[in-house]
């Protein structure tokens, strides 16, 4: 399974400011390796963000999203202690889910 995502969800008023860093090569399929061979496409196609189990945000991505993708979203109606879950699925069918708790602003 892929490396864990780094997720931070901080409450600002009643909105959770969620920042996610996913570890993924996001290969476009246009890059050549050191031997001159094209590196095949390998990129995250879908990302879902849940708030206490309910899908609040879902994204479809192309190979144009940068390597080790960053995603920032804001979730309305959040409270400290709420669960924020993030799932990604890539073009090879690999997937990863990580979850954090919403924390108070520091």
């Amino acid at each position: 399974m892929a490396e864990p995502m780094r997720i931070r969800a901080t409450l600002q008023g009643d909105v959770a400011d969620v920042r996610i860093l996913m570890m993924h090569p996001m290969e476009t399929g246009q890059r050549k390796d050191s031997k001159g061979q094209l590196v095949p496409q390998h990129f995250i196609k879908n990302v879902t963000v849940t708030h206490n189990g309910k899908v609040v945000f879902d994204a479809q991505w192309s190979q144009a999203v940068s390597r080790n993708p960053f995603l920032g979203v804001k979730v309305k109606g959040a409270k400290v202690g709420d669960k924020i879950g993030v799932t990604w699925i890539d073009n090879k069918g690999d997937k990863r889910t990580d979850e954090v708790t919403v924390t108070a602003p520091s």
Partner: protein, 155 residues
Amino acid sequence: MNTPRRTFLKLSGGAGALAVAAAAGLLKTAAVAAAEWNQDAFSAKAVNDALKSLGATNLIESRDIVITAPEIAENGAVVPVAVTSKIPNTQTIAIIAEKNPFPLAASFNIAGGGEGYVSTRLKMGETSNVRAVVKADGKFYTTVKEVKVTIGGCG
């Protein structure tokens, strides 16, 4: 003396079961929601084709969409782009890098409870307009911002 310990154990056991159930539910919901991927829109090589495949017609220029991106991106492989939509009832936000080989970079659906805001980092092949297309109440709104790219990031 044993009561607090018993309560603690009971609570943590319950929380554990809940966590497993939540995780299973989470995965199921995520898998169901994540099944779609707009093949036509993402394979479009022309901006107009991508817009058509997104169903975006009668685009209305809007100043209520703000694209935050650098004037000049030093590294085309990592261009930070954020889109804030102040349009009420924003349902989706799509980001297009007009001169990329495949212009549609990403599409976000926030209808479930996200705020009209998304921030990510994109690869841009060359200097081009970054276009945001917002769907709100079934209508489509758009705005552009030019981002100059010194070193292209697609290859």
